[in-house]
Symmetry: C2
Subunit: 155 residues, 2 copies
DNA sequence: ATATCTGCAAAAAGTTTGCTTTTTA
DNA sequence: TAAAAAGCAAACTTTTTGCAGATAT
């Protein structure tokens, strides 16, 4: 069970990654990437906007969207296709699976080994040229299970 | 490879299923369920609306949404969490996986055996009480691969 | 008869876009 | 100083909702 640790002590944003991808290194972009990498959750654009605003109060939501888009194109972050009406983003671009709490909507990583050979089987069964797959588990998170929290309800 | 066949000759809508689920049997609801069961694709609400309108021209989009919602709650249809901005629906409620064409956005069934034991592994790894999982493959569909069509582009 | 449902239109929610000014290379 | 990006607001797309009239049990 490989722990997926958040990168919490940011002295400097990861300008190197941006330079390598040939996108300009703006303060906002740095802050957005930092915020996303600083959490193990999978925030929506709006949540990220609120996070970034704590240190940079007039970043606009449009900027957050634009940067998440460009950074996902360049492989610095990942767009998640989880259930629910909003896009979610992941600062960990290594392949891994996700689980969504059907009660509160929270999305966590699942550290199981990638299922092997399934892309090939799916290719044969469907006739598609498969490039990847994603798995989303659904269940009740520990917090919700322990009677605790009773947030959103996003089933 | 179990073929998933569409139910194309509808003499009568499936009133029995609705009665069993205690929801009233309206013409619109019957037509929507019929339309969805009549295709192997996974239409959006809007596509379904257009399909139903061919035989029932003043069904409203709101009615389509409301019925898909209630029928998915009662297990007559399934809401799909595929990538892309729109919800898609599936008239086949048996557990199975899906593949989405990254070029044209089309979504098909994938007849591979459900991966066994993975829910338990995910439960241990995450601490969630897992109830289910879904897999979405991504790739290029045969039509797009053969140079043919060049529709939406929904990557 | 009464509860449920429909059609319509307006409202919400989420995301994208146009434009002007500011920042980066 | 030319190209890219930010901020702001308006536009767009998809889904939900309120309400009056119609339909189902």
């Amino acid at each position: 069970m490989r722990p997926i640790i958040a990168n919490d002590n940011h002295s400097q944003p990861d300008w190197a990654a941006m330079k390598k991808q040939q996108i300009s290194t703006t303060r906002q972009r740095g802050a957005i990437l930092d915020a996303l990498r600083g959490v193990v959750t999978h925030p929506t654009a709006d949540e990220l906007h609120r996070m970034v605003r704590q240190t940079m109060p007039n970043v606009s939501l449009g900027t957050v969207y634009r940067n998440l888009e460009i950074m996902s194109e360049r492989g610095l972050v990942t767009k998640l296709n989880t259930a629910g009406p909003q896009m979610r983003f992941d600062g960990d671009t290594r392949p891994h699976y996700h689980v969504r709490c059907s009660r509160c909507g929270r999305v966590d990583d699942v550290a199981v080994e990638p299922v092997d050979g399934i892309d090939q089987a799916a290719g044969q069964a469907s006739g598609y040229a498969i490039t990847s797959h994603s798995i989303e588990f659904e269940g009740i998170c520990p917090d919700c299970a322990s009677g605790g929290n009773s947030e959103k309800d996003s089933t």
